[in-house]
């Protein structure tokens, strides 16, 4: 558990990543990318292009059929399960299907991410309170998640992913159910995290979100990388 020495300048490096779901559904092919600390990266593409699959490979919810993922300079495939749990606490993930506990309150759902990292109670209350305020959820904080609208649940998922000020934040369709105003709140939070060093990778088909934002955009098409704004010429 030696996290002290950074072996790589990148938070995430993907090398010729491929994923084939059984029986032979190719969701991702030969995708290489890097993401540095403080960088915000958008992964776009039509539905079914492989955006969620890419994020799942990066946080090891799925294992690649080819290629490899380096996370914080370590080969993801070689990390033992106990250490993987430690690493998971440094990654915040906002899932496309939220994965919240519907019976628990908004606050409690967000706090869980910090509780598993044994953060002090006082700090948890402060941080959760501030995040919910930033995302416009303060008046809902004591409500069970099941009472919330989809857009509200989506923001709770983002708040939980951001709770530990993770080194890497993966957000799958973070604004899919949001109006422009709430979408802007989420983007503001991403920028704040990135300014503090977090690498943010967001999958979205919401053009408005990244157009003219100045952030990097990767476009996937049927599992292949067809555009990378950083290496325009390469494709």
């Amino acid at each position: 558990m030696n996290n002290s020495v950074p072996v790589s300048d990148f938070t995430v490096e993907c090398l010729k990543l491929g994923k084939t779901y059984p029986p032979d559904i190719t969701a991702l092919q030969n995708v290489s990318l890097t993401a540095a600390p403080g960088e915000i990266l958008f992964v776009t593409g039509v539905s079914g292009a492989g955006k969620s699959t890419l994020l799942k490979l990066i946080c090891r919810r799925e294992s690649p059929s080819g290629g490899m993922v380096m996370l914080f300079g370590q080969n993801l495939a070689r990390i033992g399960s106990a250490e993987m749990q430690l690493i998971r606490r440094r990654i915040g993930v906002a899932y496309q299907d939220f994965r919240l506990l519907p019976d628990l309150s908004v606050m409690h759902n967000v706090a869980m991410a910090m509780e598993v990292d044994y953060r002090p109670r006082r700090l948890i209350r402060q941080r959760v309170g501030r995040l919910l305020e930033q995302l416009g959820l303060t008046d809902k904080e004591r409500r069970p998640v099941s009472d919330l609208s989809l857009g509200e649940q989506q923001r709770v998922a983002v708040a939980r992913a951001a709770a530990n000020q993770p080194a890497l934040l993966l957000a799958d369709e973070p604004t899919g159910n949001l109006d422009e105003k709430s979408g802007a709140l989420v983007m503001a939070l991403f920028r704040e995290l990135a300014a503090a060093g977090t690498t943010v990778i967001a999958a979205t088909h919401d053009e408005k979100l990244h157009r003219d934002s100045g952030h990097q955009v990767l476009r996937l098409e049927r599992g292949c990388l067809v555009e990378d704004t950083r290496h325009e010429k390469a494709y």
């Binding site: 998971r88 606490r89 440094r90 506990l101 044994y118 109670r121």
Partner: protein, 299 residues
């Protein structure tokens, strides 16, 4: 931001919230463990007391060899030698007609006048043989009695033979009951606790999955469930013992009155046995839930 605290309070909170969610199963488990401990330790209590009573009675056990006629000391010395040849004999004592008559008169006390017209002749002389504690089983005593019957001038040998047989058979049955109820106790605990742990985990399946996604350590997830096993096992065994103690106070003490000639003086289970049952029960429950949790989290 990387500030961390002692994980124990958080794990305790997690355990508390687990308990709050599944308490009906927990209570059922607790109750089952308690009942199993109560039943097992009740049989053990009876068994140990019977053994103690047997030992106490054994101290007063002697065989009386009735003789046809009085025996002179030289012949008596030879007889004693023959008796001791059997081995494991603690004491051999001759009782003449005269002594027997005096003892009988003593026992009669106030009513001794009924002996007025009788001489000592109507009571036979006898030899009282006390075996050593190593010679107390019904079979050994029967062999000793047969040996004594071969002595010259012996008319009959008397001891509480039927009673001894029954007592010893009863103790053997009790021993079997203790063993069987012990095995049932163990099986019951394993079954109850694994079942209750499995239910508790099923009730929180979704939460366990999310905790893993968030990076919770294995112990963070499993300790609350194992703690439930510990609570059920520890509290259940403790309450079972407490129930036995209350029962003993109500039933055991009244038996302990002098009406029964002080032959039967019950005592509660010794402290090490009591502690052993509680600790053993607790450990068994902890191990049961640990196994279930480990198996569930491996997949």
């Amino acid at each position: 931001m990387k500030k961390r605290t002692n994980p124990i309070p958080q794990i305790l909170r997690q355990t508390g919230s687990n308990l709050a969610k599944t308490w009906p199963t927990q209570i059922m488990g607790l109750f089952t463990v308690m009942l199993a401990v109560l039943i097992f330790s009740f049989f053990l209590l009876v068994h140990l007391n019977m053994l103690a009573t047997g030992a106490r009675l054994g101290e007063e056990l002697r065989l009386t060899v009735y003789l046809e006629r009085e025996i002179e000391p030289p012949l008596m010395a030879r007889l004693e030698q023959q008796i001791r040849q059997f081995g494991d004999i603690a004491e051999v004592r001759y009782t003449s007609r005269q002594e027997a008559f005096a003892r009988f008169a003593d026992q009669l006390g106030e009513e001794r006048d009924i002996l007025d017209n009788l001489g000592p002749e109507f009571l036979p002389p006898s030899i009282e043989v006390t075996p050593k504690p190593s010679l107390r089983s019904p079979d050994d005593l029967e062999r000793l009695a047969a040996h004594l019957l071969t002595l010259p001038d012996t008319t009959r040998v008397q001891y509480g033979r039927e009673w001894l047989r029954r007592f010893s058979a009863f103790n053997r049955v009790l021993q079997a009951v203790v063993l069987i109820s012990g095995v049932l106790l163990i099986l019951n605990m394993i079954f109850t606790i694994s079942h209750s742990t499995r239910l508790a985990m099923a009730a929180r399946r979704e939460e366990i999955e999310i905790l893993r996604l968030l990076g919770a350590s294995r112990s963070y997830i499993s300790i609350p469930f194992v703690a439930e096993g510990l609570l059920q096992g520890g509290l259940g065994s403790g309450l079972g013992m407490a129930a036995l103690w209350l029962f003993y106070q109500r039933i055991g003490n009244p038996v302990n009155d002098p009406g029964l000639l002080g032959l039967f003086t019950p005592s509660f289970l010794p402290l090490p046995v009591t502690a052993g049952i509680i600790v053993g029960g607790t450990l068994l429950c902890v191990v049961s839930s640990l196994l279930v949790v480990n198996k569930a989290l491996r997949i």
